[in-house]
Symmetry: C2
Subunit: 575 residues, 2 copies
């Protein structure tokens, strides 16, 4: 009959690799059917129970206790295996890879490898913040694999790091690739012009491998830890990484991946990304967006799509650094007046403009609070649908009759606060036979009025039609261009152009913001990576396999993991 025997060791620290190996070695002992070696958390006890290994003595174990259970064919076999625990642990230790001297403290490790600019930390969560603090004091970037680190520690570590121009990737950061070398769990990905910032471990891995599979490559892929984009942490690391990627001339496309962040943080990050003069692919996994693109920001919804977009944008040929020319506008000119005949074109315009201005007034607004009190009187940014029912009782639709729109155009052009007028010109059967003729006369007069008053008025028109439409699309466009209208055939393109133009005006009014973040120095990241590893040996092995210089620090918790004693030692140190 099978018999399970248990041993509980209190206050002992072993790293997880050793626990795994001990479990496997025990299971291989003669007469042993199964074995479990776990810390005594409730979840782990449940796991033992699932495997029929939760004997009653083990139920008493605390989360800090090491629980060793052996199920043998008989009591003797089980006991024999348990008796070998210490031998199995120490035999594992003596075959532990390289025979180099292993420093016991970080200062020694740094002296042994001064070129190391990274410290990898994978010790248990409750010790991790202390180790990370030491690394920052020594001027090193931190890759913090450990989980179960408190939010307060995360915030203080990251603030400390940011003030020094250092990165804290993590806690719970599973992966990163710096200059071709993987930290933690990381795939071997080709070097190339795409830079990644990710608050998601396997998200970063999946996107990076798909980029590789598509023939693309990476400058760096930097993890931030899953909590970085929360409101509390406020994306300290993600902002640093974005800034770094934006400055890095080798990075031509930036990819930002995260589980859905706080909407406030998401907005701020996207706004920060919009100032980068390069395309940024954003995948806030499962975060519904109403637009797929805003200027240089491309929203993706799956990892595959993220990778595909990033690779396709490397050689898109589009210049993302172009700034619109706003030099001709007079002081005080800053608002848009959109006069649409097509209801859904107006609706799409409002949707796109949301990404540029918080408030656009309308007689048919997206949000009722932006409804004009009087549809006939514009205020600030206003976009009107002249085809709304209120205007069409006993009156022809504005696609057939330009009268109402021309009267409104004259009025808007006379407003000294108006910088841009946006119109749609919808061609086709049923519509006015020659709308551009009437409109361009009116626009010409409006531009004259503005010019005479010392203003520069920009008129943008989207002409919606085909080359086979009865009005003659080419002629319609030519008539409008003749009087100085900027013509687009896509509503999307027209509205985005207007958004960028007016946003540039808006920004010119704002005082430059002071940047309190110290930039991360790009140069050390481009040198061959060297690191100090504290915790899982397999990370040292992985770095060695990749040809990196690494010093493995032989870390043990203070007082052998006895928390009371450790607390006393810590207090003594501080004095």
């Amino acid at each position: 009959m099978a018999v399970s025997k248990v041993e509980i060791r209190t206050g002992a620290y072993y790293d997880s690799v050793i626990l795994m190996q001990l479990q496997r070695s025990l299971a291989e002992q003669p007469g042993v059917m199964d074995a479990g070696v776990v810390m005594g958390t409730e979840a782990n006890k449940d796991v033992l129970a699932q495997s029929g290994l939760l004997v009653s003595e083990a139920q008493r174990a605390n989360p800090d206790d090491l629980v060793i259970v052996v199920k043998g064919e008989d009591e003797a076999a089980a006991q024999a295996a348990l008796d070998k625990v210490d031998e199995l642990v120490s035999s594992r230790r003596s075959t532990g890879g390289d025979e180099d001297y292993r420093p016991h403290d970080m200062r020694t490790a740094v002296r042994m490898l001064p070129e190391a600019s990274w410290v990898l930390i994978s010790v248990p969560g409750r010790y991790a913040a202390g180790v990370a603090r030491q690394a920052l004091e020594l001027g090193k970037h931190v890759f913090l694999y450990s989980d179960n680190v408190s939010l307060e520690d995360e915030i203080s570590l990251k603030q400390e790091a940011a003030s020094k121009g250092l990165l804290v990737m993590g806690p719970d950061c599973g992966t990163a690739i710096v200059n071709g070398i993987g930290l933690g769990f990381a795939n071997k990905v080709r070097k190339g012009p795409i830079g990644m910032v990710a608050a998601s471990g396997t998200g970063l891995q999946q996107v990076s491998v798909r980029i590789h599979q598509l023939g693309g490559g990476l400058t760096h892929a930097l993890g931030t830890g899953g909590r970085d984009l929360s409101e509390a942490v406020n994306a300290i690391t993600a902002r640093q990484c974005l800034d770094l990627m934006a400055r890095d001339p080798d990075t031509r496309v930036i990819v930002l991946v995260s589980k859905p962040p706080s909407p406030k943080v998401a907005d701020e990050l996207v706004n920060a990304a919009r100032t980068a003069s390069k395309p940024v692919v954003v995948n806030f996994i499962g975060y519904a967006t109403a637009s797929r693109r805003v200027d240089n920001i491309f929203f993706a919804t799956t990892f595959d799509e993220t990778a595909e977009l990033a690779v396709s944008l490397v050689d898109s040929g589009e210049d993302f650094a172009v700034q619109p020319d706003i030099s001709k506008f007079a002081k005080g000119q800053r608002f848009l007046r959109g006069l649409f005949s097509g209801g859904t074109l107006q609706y799409e315009a409002l949707l796109i403009l949301q990404h540029y201005f918080p408030v656009v007034y309308s007689n048919a607004p997206l949000d009722k609070k932006n409804k004009l009190e009087d549809s006939l009187v514009s205020k600030e940014h206003t976009v009107i649908d002249l085809g709304e029912d209120e205007f069409t009782v006993g009156r022809l639709h504005p696609m057939m009759d330009n009268d109402l729109r021309i009267r409104r155009l004259e009025k808007e052009a006379a407003d000294p606060e108006v910088a841009v007028i946006l119109l749609d010109v919808v061609l086709g059967y049923g519509a006015h036979g020659n709308p551009a003729s009437e409109l361009s006369q009116a626009i010409y007069a409006a531009l004259q009025t503005a010019n005479e008053a010392g203003r520069h008025l920009k008129v943008v028109a989207v002409v919606s039609g085909t080359d086979e439409d009865p009005q003659g699309m080419k002629d319609q466009i030519a008539m409008l261009e003749e009087v100085g209208v900027r013509v687009e055939t896509s509503n999307d393109a027209a509205v985005r152009y207007v958004g960028r133009l007016l946003q540039a005006i808006e920004r010119s009014h704002q005082p430059p913001t002071e940047d309190r973040m110290k930039h991360v120095d790009l140069e050390p990241l481009k040198k061959p990576l060297a690191a100090i590893n504290v915790g899982l040996e397999s990370f040292t092995e992985a770095l060695t396999d990749q040809g990196s210089q690494v010093v493995h620090m032989d870390w043990k918790p203070a007082a052998g993991g006895n928390e009371k004693l450790a607390g006393i030692l810590e207090r003594m140190k501080r004095k």
Copy 2:
């Protein structure tokens, strides 16, 4: 000094073209500075006020009154112009285009053009439902341009039409293209394999012209009216149109455009579209979606993107009609068990699975209400993240140690309700050196167990890695395939495959739904379009210009627009 004179005509009906032309003619009279001819609604009086034409007498006008205002250089000029109103109206009428006989009632019109399968209606809203009802009685499809039609009328008209296999496009339907011929406002768009359904007038126009500009073309573009996708109307017309496009062999790609519909209606429409064996591009303008694609459904966010997707899908080469083979599964096998080591891969899997099943349980669910009571015990569809903190206290991450996952795999495989097991295998530095070897042994055993119990178990794995990873991606894949695992290198592809497979099983359990909608006959739509037009003359002209046969009905409201009298006549008719 300028003097404005006003004349108010009560209970008179004129169509809007005549009002526009009268206003223009008045403005051209000698000594006249401006003129306004409008129905006396509040909005219109505001418009008059904006142009300085709202003299005090006009303020008294009711919405049914015709208000004629003339601003002259002096009283005599204004009065002289006003005196000419009747003359100007009748001169316009006598030059009214073609000299054909114009029937005064619809039966006569139908006798004159029996091949007409469409009636276009653009009379004022309050009369439009009655005219539409007549058209349906005569077996004609209705294109209902008129706005201001009541919701009740819309619903009853559409229900009536659907029961007869007829379409009511509208009310407030501005545009449609049937077999190359534009109705209402419509561009001249090339014929081709894309079929459009739109609850948005200029949305339909903008997408259709962009399709044309990109070299694509249309079978039909059918409008539904802006309210069709509301919960009240329940997309009666859109469903008919989708069904029609799905059956039409000439339509290879379907495009569905609408302002954001009710979420319930949106879900139902998308579900209906998923049964079409062809790609459907959906743009619920400004409706945020968390996924960009679900099987044959492609979500677009702008008109440009909608057109680009539609054109690119015409020759995508993908077979959207393929159904997964579910014949081997035993009765009772219907659930998924996903065992992930990568947290974000698991998260993406849950996001994608949302489109297939309302409920997927997890230890890390999207919605707390789907959290497993016990992470170790699956129920129904369950997808687990084995890398969650609860499992990693003192234990190696499942990317390094397969033990926990293998134990779980054995358990899931023994469950007779399980049809599919989904795994991720994450390669790279730091991860297990040969995960496929351990996993494939366990999978082989699990498949054996299931087989012996008379079940067919499908195991799907996503291998996340590159060809340069230390484990050797090719070998890892080969080991898994060797034991019968379906391997994908994209998480997206793996999860979608699983979703389709299990959805097919789900559907096989459901009784076939009875279809109460009468199909719209496809054949008449392919014949040269012929129509009867009731209302705006310009729509008759547009049809004639396009070479279509059209009879213009000389419609006047009963009793000349006098509502009281019309009511009496209507009641008399009913008797």
